[in-house]
Point group: C3
Chain length 305, copies 3
Amino acid sequence: MTSFKNRSLLNVESLSTEGIERLFSRAKSIKNQINAGQLPQPTLAGKQIVLFFTEASTRTKLSFQMAAQRLGAQCLIVDDQQRSSLSKGESLSDTFWTLHSLRPDLIIVRCGGEAPLEDWIEKSRIPVINAGFGSIAHPTQALLDAFTIEDIFGSLQDRRILIVGDVDHSRVAHSHFRLLKRLGAKITVCGPKMMTTLIPQGIDVESDLDKAMKNCDVFMGLRVQFERHRNQSFSKESYIKNYSLDEKRLQNLPKEALIMHPGPVNWGVEFQEGVENHAQFKMWDQKQNGVFVRAALMEILLGSH
Amino acid sequence: MTSFKNRSLLNVESLSTEGIERLFSRAKSIKNQINAGQLPQPTLAGKQIVLFFTEASTRTKLSFQMAAQRLGAQCLIVDDQQRSSLSKGESLSDTFWTLHSLRPDLIIVRCGGEAPLEDWIEKSRIPVINAGFGSIAHPTQALLDAFTIEDIFGSLQDRRILIVGDVDHSRVAHSHFRLLKRLGAKITVCGPKMMTTLIPQGIDVESDLDKAMKNCDVFMGLRVQFERHRNQSFSKESYIKNYSLDEKRLQNLPKEALIMHPGPVNWGVEFQEGVENHAQFKMWDQKQNGVFVRAALMEILLGSH
Amino acid sequence: MTSFKNRSLLNVESLSTEGIERLFSRAKSIKNQINAGQLPQPTLAGKQIVLFFTEASTRTKLSFQMAAQRLGAQCLIVDDQQRSSLSKGESLSDTFWTLHSLRPDLIIVRCGGEAPLEDWIEKSRIPVINAGFGSIAHPTQALLDAFTIEDIFGSLQDRRILIVGDVDHSRVAHSHFRLLKRLGAKITVCGPKMMTTLIPQGIDVESDLDKAMKNCDVFMGLRVQFERHRNQSFSKESYIKNYSLDEKRLQNLPKEALIMHPGPVNWGVEFQEGVENHAQFKMWDQKQNGVFVRAALMEILLGSH
């Protein structure tokens, strides 16, 4: 399997474009099987997968666990609380290598930006998947979002993605920039100035949300990370007035455009209640697709397909 | 499968009498198989079951988990501690629907009385089992108790069940009233006045325990929920004097009568030490039977039998 | 299976010498299979194993879990945090017997020295494995260490094992004394006087580490348990000066001698950084072998091999 560097997923650059196509094609067929009420082949039977989550993230953990078990793998969970008991005098790296020494077939890691994840992947004798790395990267979220868009529109080519809100603090957004562009999409960012200071070249910035909405195929909300704005002149009221998606603002959105969000939504902030009742709202599809994309990813990394 | 409303178990009314018979018959055959050292058919192979426990309840959780795995299902656990990490700004319902969106085959819920469990069951596209709902209902406990009595006596018809103690705060007792009566049993309640104010019609109340014991087939102790009596004029000494089952009081109990308790026992309060050495003491059987009854329940709800 | 008393493992005396040989032989063949990329036979398929860990020990728990699942068993985990929710008014014994009543096939127990583990094993109707019992015994750690030495040297006969450091507080050391001697090894202990007061007869004590190192086949470091030395005149600096293994001291060690440690290492105390880069350093092998030895142990106790 040559489309992954070191058979691991550090970030979206770990995948070749051909690797992504293969991944999405396999995710699609797993999706079709499960939706038809069939059991997918237990292609990971006998595989042992360690979920090493040093940060709380029940949602992503469950998604990986469900994906792994659907294909017959066994999961061993080492999460934040257990890590503390594991860590008597140990560094994070000691813990990683201890888990590695138990010889699982795959390690899935969620960790803060200070963890030497690149070094672990470089030296690991088994595949490692980045399941969220500080505010640096969250490649599987970007992959499942791209898959969701492609699954509905057929392709990302020339699709206009509008990313709204707390971009600077979003590891998701940074993975999106790189992945979605590579797949041919055009990205526009819209949010308060204080939340959009770190926008790379090649990404459009638009200050007027209502105007930007009229020309998009996907409205992608991002969670406002209040805990990061405590010491700043952040006004929640002003955010809601200018960026919250409500029934009135929704009228600016093209009928075919999708409403997405990596979750969890701050209801009343990014979205007002009622938004979830529109057929355009695809957050539940994103979550469902996450299981299929992660299943396909593990299968490919483990060389089982 | 028409004997369950919406293929879910909200309370004992979710089952038809014919549904209960079928459930007990299947539980009995799983019990016989396991007791004979045989592996039951993996009728739930490939099924994924989420245990969503927002209240601490390791005992019930383990029982469901063991039941599910015995039939080949996979369990994903979201418990109290994980719920808190799951809940960044989320309502309990958001969490439920997030779990639902991951497409498990069944969700087992333990929650406080404030949770909109009825609404979830109404709208869910997959079966949901109530594994304890505030002080409102705990149908699987009632089912396993009824099964235990029927398994020993052959039937509940005309059996006299004496429920002793903290009835008002017991979700178990409230489920018992409804289930055991439907199956033909006669229920008498005995306990301090302050603990027996909410007794529905058709249930006898008897104040003299020694007298009531002489005419019962089952002595069902209930856990005294001390945490609910802090601000009241509750006297532990007086409770023990009048309601605790000890060697002396045991002499009033007919030789064939069963001693049961949903657990965990406050030893020295509901029962004095030594009671567990009598052959009439069936608490361990209740726990064992819980696994069989829950296994049969999941099998029937999932249409796998 | 006659080589285990009561089909349980309380301590290293629970095994006959013939039982140990059989165990190591089976562990070796599981190791060979897994190293060759083969799946071991699912000899524990359908077995349910409860891990009852009343003390934090993620490392040992994971090792058992991985071993059990490798052979197809299902694990149910009751750990410290869950125990507290389990324990409403319950004694540790109540909890044990509640778990026992759910009819798992095996219970693996980690507990403090105050727990009546011997009594549980005596009365249990199913096999029980001691996975760490206060500071009294940790037989599977001793077994995996013995296996690691035998796997490299072919036999323990006449091998000189040097155990260094905090011997008094080490349940591992006490299990080592008994097991390694029975297998023919010669044991020397070296450490500060305050840490080596409880040495049984037949074990040599040597005060000069550099001298002792020159004549050993295995240098076994032990974790300094700082939390036990708070009120004592323990000097970390003095410990490091006299007992820490660093590059300079390593020159006293014969080229073929192994460096072992039950883990986790206090880096900078028992070992200085860099020690792990020597080919003699076998801690990762110990951890790997732990999975194989525990798998073989469970297989034999459950009569599946």
